[in-house]
Symmetry: C2
Subunit: 182 residues, 2 copies
């Protein structure tokens, strides 16, 4: 059984890092806590005049490298690995790829170890990758393949609660996944 | 029809860049021209005592960014694109990923343009990617999937002449590929 796992907002705490820096840099400006986010893209939650300031934080060096892991994520991934599941990290870089591409690799090496670096798949189109499950917080995952071979399991986040798919988090993943071929 | 295309030694002139720097840095040392290379990994062609010097060149900043395109590669890729083929760049970073990961993205943006950056798939395991053909100079492409869905077409290079698979180069690709579903 092969599980593809997204990074931002699934194993790395994108929103935690963003909100911390947002508050530090712009303590006087509108602050939208994660629980009140309704859009997948953080930038789209903020009024247009604040969006360049949001982008500035996401694009600055160290933003991707310095995210904390999501609670339970590292343990879950190591456990999956020990169970004999094939686990791959399947992640899309920002269009402004300059910092995030390398920093995603550094993050994986730092928090999961060098062996996991070989399990990174960096692609804008996840529908091209073969797996049984894709665990991802993005509501809709589209690409060249109209019907991907994997089942999209939604990683539960406030901004994707209206998505009508199976969902999990690192507290309940063992109850949600069907360990079909293991 | 979807074609996955490798980078180093297929669209970017890895060996040309290496040999140029090798001669510049170590004019007095053993020089193995491309035509005499028998191993896929350049480092393995050189005696053990020279291998650290080979690695030094491959790992230095700008090595991946500064490769020239292979003759005919850019034109072939644009032509494939215009023919309506789905073309993706499917490339594996070095284990020492520090410079090559970002520089591969920069190379694609520089020589093919920003749209092509979205067609990069960076993965150590190419057997997980769905396509009809994989054009790659590496003799054996292995991974989790014992039987990948694509057909491996060998990009013709001196060091892979003993491989018994269909082979092409950017001079004859239109005669080799079967444009089956287009």
């Amino acid at each position: 059984m092969r599980i593809l796992i997204d990074m931002d907002g699934v194993i790395s705490d994108f929103d935690g890092k963003f909100l911390k820096r947002w508050r530090e840099r712009h303590p006087e400006k509108l602050y939208i806590p994660l629980e009140e986010r309704t859009t997948f893209y953080v930038k789209e939650s903020y009024p247009e005049e604040l969006q360049p300031l949001v982008a500035e934080i996401l694009l600055e060096p160290s933003f991707f490298r310095d995210m904390m892991p999501m609670a339970g994520a590292i343990q879950a991934m190591n456990e999956m690995n020990q169970m004999g599941l094939e686990v791959f990290i399947c992640t899309s870089p920002l269009n402004a790829y300059r910092n995030c591409v390398l920093e995603k690799y550094e993050w994986v090496e730092n928090y999961l170890g060098a062996d996991w670096v070989n399990r990174i798949i960096l692609t804008k189109d996840k529908t091209l990758v073969k797996g049984d499950y894709l665990i991802d917080d993005k509501p809709d995952i589209t690409g060249m393949e109209a019907i991907p071979v994997w089942e999209h399991i939604v990683y539960d986040r406030p901004y994707n609660r209206d998505v009508n798919k199976r969902r999990l988090d690192w507290g309940n993943w063992k109850d949600i996944l069907d360990f079909k071929s293991t």
